[in-house]
Amino acid sequence: MAQPEPVLAVDALVVRFPTADGVVEAVRGVSWSVGPGQVLGIVGESGAGKSVSALAVMGLLPDPAVVSGSARLRGAELVGMAPRVLNRYRGERLAMIFQDPMSSLNPVRTVGWQLAEAVRVHHEVSRRDARSRAVELLELVGIPNPRQRARGYPHELSGGMRQRVVIAMAMANDPEVIIADEPTTALDVTVQAQILETLHRAREATGAAMVLITHDLGVVAGVADEVIVMYAGRVVERGGVDEVFYRPRMPYTQALLGSLPRVGPDGSGRSVPIPGAPPSLIDLPPGCPFAPRCSFARADCGDEPVLRLVEPPRHQVACHFSEQVASAWGGSGEPAARAVNGEVSGGRS
């Protein structure tokens, strides 16, 4: 089956930060792509390079950062693009949502003014039309009394409501790709559910592709079509969401899944922490960076494994022993039958 042309394709992306202690190799050759209307989930531990790789794509890294490789938005190269052009792309074709909504909002302007401004920056519309579009957007993201809220300031809103405003801003110009970095991490579960639903609606309304960065594998399981797992600045596993969750072939992915507590005391076993910590990204020693924490590690893990196809069409893994690793995960690959609350809400949709 031919994959549709990707909207955003990242290839061999490298990001280095020169620091007093040496060069931090935050992203070491990362490739991924996302198709129209698709959702790509990026997971991994703190410091894996998830945010830095997204910021590199958006051209939002601080000055000392050195970026190489490629990131193409419908063929247009973003790496090295003139700031003026890239600025226009951001907002118009690419939108970004951060964990802290206040980092995207101006505290001294009304919500409506900011939304209208976002619309006007990229479209020739009257002030009045921009204002009514702003109210429309607020309504679309589920803000009650949108007309009244538009006249309010960000600080008058709860965290969840602010994040909705940011989503409305992201939608303002029908972007082709929305990159969301931990958009629900600071929020309570019920608010998280509201925001995930709002993001879903935003995607339906704009047809945008989404790159969803999160440490929460549960969120990714429910939203993503494809998943990449990052470790120490690299992609160590990539595949369809079912392949990665039910047939993980990389010890790190398995360890990450094994470390999660599951809702419901159903005796499905304890969660197992991953021993040790990720390596420093300065002067990374040769070899597989996960080896010191890996229960499958052997003497011949010497060379850093490259991402290779293990199961067509697209399941890729960076591990020398992915075959043994796969069988260790338990054969069937069927979703574990667990009596969890997922069924609480009953009736099948």
């Binding site: 399981a221 609480v344 949709s349």
Partner: protein, 352 residues
Amino acid sequence: MTVLAGASGTGVVVGQPVLAVRDLVVHFGARRRSRPPLAGRRSAGIVHAVCGVSFDLGAGETLGLVGESGCGKSTTARAVLQLVPPTSGSVRFEGRELTSLGTGELRRLRADLQMVFQDPYSSLDPRMSVGTSVAEPLRVHRRLGVHGEERVAELLRTVGLDPAHARRYPHEFSGGQRQRIGIARALALEPKVLVLDEPVSALDVSVKAGVVNLLEELQDRLGLAYLFVAHDLSVVGQISDRVAVMYLGKLVETGTAAAVYQHPSHPYTQALLSAVPQPDPALERRRRRIVLTGEVPSPVSPPSGCRFRTRCPKAAPVCAEEEPALVDRGQGHPVACHFAEAVDPGARCGIG
């Protein structure tokens, strides 16, 4: 002796509870504002943070207190330890009333009741070596003695850290390690009860499991009782024997972890549990979330009757008039809802 929490079956603690909390109320005074938040509202008002919370904690047991931010969990935890003065109600530790104790007596009792905080970054003094930090409670309670150094080493070993690290400073440790240091410190005086306020929330997933497992091991070994406050339902479900669900200052459902997670009967508990994403794509595709509308109302002017009614899919006129008591309504555990119904996992149900 058997003590019942509430009037019913599953809140049972066998033997005398180490901690018995009854009708705990915490109100915070009015914060004056130059401009009232809403025109027409009279006084800035009282924050009704905790409004009549009762529970028991048995020896060696874990009670998980869950709820969303602002629902009063942390205030409850602090009021139990008298770190916040309760407005009314009773907190008994091994039968002794804490609310009427003088500061001196309270300080002595604090050795038995310790707290572990959420933020492993700010709860340790950055200028104090880890050894000094862990030894501090011993020094304050004049229990350092000649074997102090040995005791600190033992405590660090207990939480899985290398005693040689005693001379290092907090910034040299990871988040998980710092949380372990915080736990070692809380264990220094051999407490009977640990109150843990979001102890693993700030930690990476891979590290969280290590701290949770450590807490379980310590409980088995030392017979500690935990009041475990968290918003993360997965972690609470894993560690708790019993669970209490809190909404806007009140408990809405209590019971064994199995009862609450497998037969959630309050619409709020059902919504909460249905919102937790599971790392299981097929399950996630299949399940329907109960997405609550609106937001938690202000604790300054909580709704009349049932506090959840403004967001409840089952709300009826009676809910505004009559406050539902936390009692067993045939679910086998206490639920504060006029329309409580147990839902069998997998069974159909008619919410909404």
